[in-house]
């Protein structure tokens, strides 16, 4: 699996994490090109259905990012997202997918560095895990 390039779906909230990802760009911080980002207004918009669908269709990992707790543009959308992810992790395990393939991170608009680092770390971890069990 040396040349395994994982395919990762990332969700980023418009106000913090998407802006953080933009900042990583503005700061020219390099990270592996394995993610395809879907912008949502709030991390709370991401439903278990979206995540499971991504795994079913071929994602090796799903990365969800939102504002830090207490920073949510909409108040508590990210807290709801946190609960959704906990729930989804159970579904993921039931499907025989390693829980590490689903990651939730809080990334603010000023954390370009954190966005880049988080993606780097996540891609490495997925590479260790190899192709998703649903795709083998």
């Amino acid at each position: 699996m040396a040349d395994f390039e994982p395919r990762i779906v990332a969700f980023a909230c418009n106000w913090c994490s998407y802006a953080g990802a933009d900042l990583a760009g503005v700061s020219r911080l390099q990270y592996p090109p394995n993610i395809r980002t879907i912008r949502v207004m709030c991390s709370g918009r991401v439903s278990p259905g979206h995540i499971i669908r991504a795994f079913e269709h071929g994602a090796d990992g799903v990365f969800v990012s939102g504002c830090h707790i207490n920073d949510c543009h909409y108040g508590f959308g990210n807290r709801w997202a946190e609960k959704q992810i906990e729930k989804t992790l159970k579904l993921v395990e039931m499907l025989g997918i390693e829980p590490d393939r689903l990651k939730l991170e809080w990334i603010s608009a000023s954390e370009g560095e954190k966005f880049a680092t988080s993606i780097r770390t996540f891609v490495e971890r997925i590479k260790e895990l190899g192709r998703s069990p649903l795709q083998r």
Partner: protein, 1017 residues
């Protein structure tokens, strides 16, 4: 207040407002005024707008692409129905009285028919003439027919008569004619004459900006003798990807890559032989240039940065300075070079006094950058004569009252903003521009016609999709990594795609026109732009769609720059593949997009100002002067805020109490409701319709302004403050100075700067105003018979007359000791502080001082209500604890929440003129918001499909805004979502157990289509 409208009986064209100068300040003023409904004539001397900011590569401290954030504003101004852009034009006369001026404008002939030119540039390619391009700071060439830059707004070519062969003899004699022959539109006409235009204007805003001083006269620095010595602006163009070297850092002498660089600060600034003032922006822009240069040219090993005082005073600047030091490895040397000469191996030798040894030293470098003084723009004296206003002895336009009114010129009805009245950073220029706008607006009276925002064009959602895809090169930014052409070709083959192309700059004015035409011609019903980030550019493209008759919600973007080419520059092939995926996802989402209609809601045309300090007072005054209702709320029993702690004010020496008294009298003369001793207890509602609960009443308001100020930090546990009675703070000492009594002969007052600011932990930034407070106090103390010493790290007297104050203090005998950044002063004594020990970095030794009084300059902290208000209003705070503005450069007056604004020290510490400018600026923004009796609500909200709703109440629990409401009728219980309250986050939709809730524009269908297509084999 407002001038009376002319009552001649017959209809006359509305009196407009004349804005002179199309840089970022002029553009901002024009946009604010246009939105508030005033007719604006924006006169720009050069062929296109954008000014200095358009020349910059990056803005700091975010290193955001300068043209990228500016360009949408330029295009917006060009397209605004209330703004007439008069480029290549000059004001030649201003007669009449405030409220009823007549201005004459000379619109110079471009010899190109403005309506016919399509900006294709064929003419420029055949022009035989080659002259240095002013826009490239003389580093690149242009023809006699030219546009200054690729993203010129308007994109119309201009023949420069001075250099065109056909005008060699002064008048037109056909000699060449190549351009006219080549022009596909036959737009070139050598006989077009200059045009004289007469305009009725109520008031005038001068935003003429600055020029860079030519450092040639400073002979010891050898500018002009060696090609490898550049000015700051020349270097900025070199760093720009669209500049003369395509962003490569090279030695102009031989084109090779430099390995070492010297930066020299204060060239012609803070120097009485040339310009005695501080140019205010150079210290940090040079740090930025080092960071960017290292990024563009990793071969550069050494940056030798020569400076006098590091003036990193803005939000995030101190941290930015540290980034330059720690990450880029810039070697900061506190010394002014004595000379620059030719050294060994074609290098340049910089000689200086080494501050570490106090001995002469030298260093050989490949490239030298001189950060030259910002001087008043050429033509300032002539324009001043035309306008009948005064200039300062330093060449800039003169402010009538620099302390109490940061925008009024010496002639009533004529206002100054941006660098026209002295060097300034972008956010300060923008804030001032809005302030000048607010003042100018008061003279227009009822001659306002806000642009009505009608319903959006609606398309048939069931129509077969015909998607248009536009892939941007963004100059080198995207196309340097991603194969934009290949991405466009890929897009053309996608199902539903009817048209796909690639553009050099998709955001430019000409491309907007092109997109508009293509949408119509190709009958497109969906548009995808693959370019930069939707966060900045989606509004622009949506507007273009609307203009083309396409519903703007049938548009999507693929971010192939910020989140692709910029972060995968080392793997261009993968970046191209990723771009294709992102385009494919956007195109499939586009297929599933639905047209949305905006909803109009009535608004309360009133404003509520929170905080009765000088900022809040000024803001309330300027809003009231526009005829709007204002309420001012102050938590203390008296108005005045921080100003009540001050005695006399710099630079005029006026008593703080006099200034405050005058402002309060003005406030009281206007119909403004003032509630003292009151605080907000709860806030509900949204833009235009806020409901605010006070202790004893409830108020409705359309806008909220945060002017809550700050509080001085108490230096507990620092420098003997707890132990010794004679260790006091600046505010305490201000009270001592309140009287007139003299100090004892020789009494020694020692000021210690940065007590609790610019620290590694906690308060990392600069508090901006303390240096000048201590200079003012020390000078006064010396005048009254005391001795004074200021122990500092850098003297940051960067404001308009700050350098004069510093010089006066030195001349009056105030002593200065620069201490080490990381070593505190040792305060010793017994009951009272008696001696101070400090390492003097100039003498390079420990010194002991006897002291009678020690004054600690402490930073300003956010006021104690900030955190609570931030939570209540959902306004984020910066790492410094102050309210965060919408955009660090271009949005200093707004917050992230529509209808909530901020001014003064609520944003970060500021002096009085900057606070007043911001306060008046907010008034302009509020005026624009409340110019109409309605606002249009964002249509991307959620709705409930009633047949699926089981009224479980999950959404009601989730929503912070109380948008979903449980209802009941004869058929049973159900939930309905109040669109006016819904913010469109979509959290309810993802939690609805029966999927009854649809989050418009982010529907499950739309999200899932992106996932599905991504993995389609």
């Amino acid at each position: 207040m407002t001038a009376k409208a002319a009552t001649t009986g017959k209809p006359t064209p509305p009196r407009g407002i004349l804005v002179i100068g199309g840089g970022v300040a002029g553009i901002q003023a024009a946009l604010d005024l246009g939105k508030a409904g005033a007719k604006v004539y924006l006169v720009e001397r050069t062929p296109s707008v954008g000014g200095r900011m358009a020349q910059l590569d990056k803005t700091l401290p975010t290193n955001d692409c300068s043209i990228c954030i500016l360009s949408p504003l330029l295009v917006e101004a060009l397209r605004h129905p209330n703004i007439d852009l008069l480029t290549y034009a000059e004001v030649t006369a201003l007669e009449g009285t405030p409220g009823n001026f007549k201005a004459r404008v000379l619109k110079r002939s471009r010899f190109v028919n403005e309506h016919d030119c399509i900006g294709c540039g064929v003419c420029a390619r055949v022009c035989p003439v080659s002259v240095p391009n002013e826009f490239e700071a003389g580093m690149g060439d242009r023809g006699a027919i030219y546009v200054p830059m690729a993203q010129a707004t308007p994109l119309i070519y201009t023949i420069d008569k001075e250099n065109c062969l056909n005008f060699a003899g002064g008048t037109y004699e056909p000699v060449c004619g190549k351009c006219a022959e080549a022009c596909p539109k036959k737009a070139i006409d050598f006989e077009i004459e200059n045009e004289e235009i007469e305009l009725d204007v109520a008031s005038v805003i001068v935003a003429t900006g600055f020029d860079e001083m030519n450092p040639r006269p400073i002979r010891n620095l050898s500018y002009g003798d060696h090609k490898d010595i550049l000015t700051g602006l020349e270097f900025e163009r070199m760093l720009n990807a669209a500049g003369p070297t395509g962003g490569r850092v090279v030695k102009p002498s031989d084109g090779s890559a430099p390995t070492s660089l010297a930066i020299v600060q204060c060239v012609g600034s803070r120097d009485e032989r040339y310009h005695s003032y501080c140019s205010r922006v150079c210290c940090v822009y040079s740090v930025k240039q080092c960071i960017v240069a290292k990024d563009h040219q990793p071969a550069i090993k050494d940056f030798h940065y020569f400076y006098r005082d590091m003036r990193a005073y803005g939000r995030g600047f101190e941290e930015f300075y540290h980034r330059g030091r720690d990450e880029t490895g810039v070697n900061f040397i506190k010394s002014s070079p004595a000379s620059i000469t030719t050294g060994s191996n074609d290098k340049l030798r910089v000689r200086y006094e080494d501050p570490a040894t106090a001995r002469p030293a030298s260093v050989d470098v490949d490239l030298v950058v001189l950060t030259c003084a910002m001087i008043a723009s050429a033509g300032t004296p002539e324009l001043a004569r035309v306008l009948g206003v005064d200039v300062e002895k330093d060449g800039y336009f003169k402010l009538k009252d620099p302390l109490g009114d940061p925008v009024a010129s010496t002639r009533e009805g004529v206002f100054l903003c941006g660098c026209a009245s002295g060097p300034k950073d972008i956010p300060d220029s923008v804030a001032q521009a809005s302030a000048a706008g607010a003042r100018a607006l008061a003279y227009v009276g009822e001659d306002k016609s806000p642009v009505e925002e009608g319903p959006l064009p609606m398309n048939d959602p069931e129509e077969e999709p015909r998607i248009g895809v536009f892939v941007c090169h963004c100059g080198h930014n995207i196309a340097g990594v991603v194969d934009s052409k290949a991405v466009a070709e890929f897009a053309a083959r996608l199902p539903g795609v009817a048209y796909a192309t690639d553009n050099l700059y998709t955001c430019s004015d000409d491309t907007q026109t092109k997109i508009e035409q293509i949408i119509k011609r190709k009958k497109l019903n969906r548009v995808v732009v693959a370019a930069c980030t939707p966060r900045t550019h989606e509004p622009l493209f949506r507007e273009t769609c609307t203009k083309a008759g396409l519903n703007p919600y049938l548009f999507d973007m693929a971010n192939i720059r910020d989140q692709c080419s910029w972060v995968h520059s080392d793997v261009p092939e993968e970046a191209t593949e990723k771009s294709k995926d992102l385009v494919r996802m956007a195109a499939f989402r586009a297929m599933n997009l639905k047209p949305l209609q905006r909803k109009r809601v009535e608004i309360d045309r009133s404003a509520l100002v929170l905080g009765g300090g000088i900022s809040g007072i000024q803001c309330a005054i300027d809003i009231a002067r526009q005829g709007l209702d204002v309420v001012l709320i102050e938590k203390e029993p008296a108005l005045g805020g921080l100003l009540r702690n001050l005695d006399h004010l710099f630079p005029s020496g006026a008593a703080a109490s006099d200034l405050l008294k005058a402002k309060i009298e003005e406030l009281e003369s206007l119909p403004i409701a003032v509630f003292k001793g009151q605080e907000i207890e709860a806030v509900d509602g949204f833009v235009g319709n806020f409901e605010v609960k006070l202790k004893d009443r409830e108020l409705k308001t359309g806008a909220i302004i945060l002017a809550t100020g700050g509080i001085a930090r108490e230096p507990k546990g620092r420098l003997g403050y707890d132990e010794f009675d004679n260790v006091i703070t600046s505010s305490d000492f201000e009270k001592t100075l309140g009287g007139t009594e003299k100090f004892n002969e020789g009494e020694h007052i020692v000021f210690i700067q940065c007590v609790g600011a610019r620290e590694e932990e906690g308060y990392t930034g600069c508090s901006r105003y303390c240096c000048q407070v201590s200079l003012k106090q020390a000078l006064e103390a010396v005048k009254r018979g005391a001795q004074a010493t200021i122990i500092h790290r850098d003297i940051r007297s960067f404001t308009r007359f700050g350098e004069d104050l510093y010089r006066d203090a030195r001349n009056a005998g105030v002593s200065f000791i620069r201490r080490k950044d990381d070593e505190d002063v040792d305060v010793r004594g017994n009951g009272r502080a008696e001696t101070l020990g400090v390492f003097d970095t100039t003498l390079l030794s420990d010194v002991e001082l006897e002291c009678d009084t020690v004054v600690l300059a402490v930073p300003l902290l956010p006021s104690d209500t900030t955190a609570r208000l931030g939570e209540m209003l959902r306004i984020p705070l910066g790492s410094d604890g102050f309210f965060l503005e919408k955009h660090i450069k271009l949005g200093p007056l707004e917050t992230n929440t529509e209808g909530i604004f901020l001014c003064g020290c609520a944003q970060y510490p500021k002096d009085i003129p900057d606070s007043l400018a911001q306060a008046s600026g907010v008034a302009a923004k509020v005026g624009a918001l409340l110019s109409k009796p309605y606002v249009n609500l964002e249509p991307a909200t959620a709705f409930v499909r009633r047949q699926l709703c089981r009224a479980c109440g999950t959404c009601v629990d989730i929503c912070e805004y109380h948008a979903p409401e449980l209802k009941q009728d004869e058929t049973g219980e159900y939930v309905e979502i109040n669109e006016a309250l819904c913010k469109g986050c979509g959290t309810c939709a993802s939690h609805c157990p029966t999927s009854a809730i649809v989050a418009k524009h982010y529907t499950d269908e739309q999200i899932e289509s992106m996932i599905d297509i991504l993995f389609e084999k």
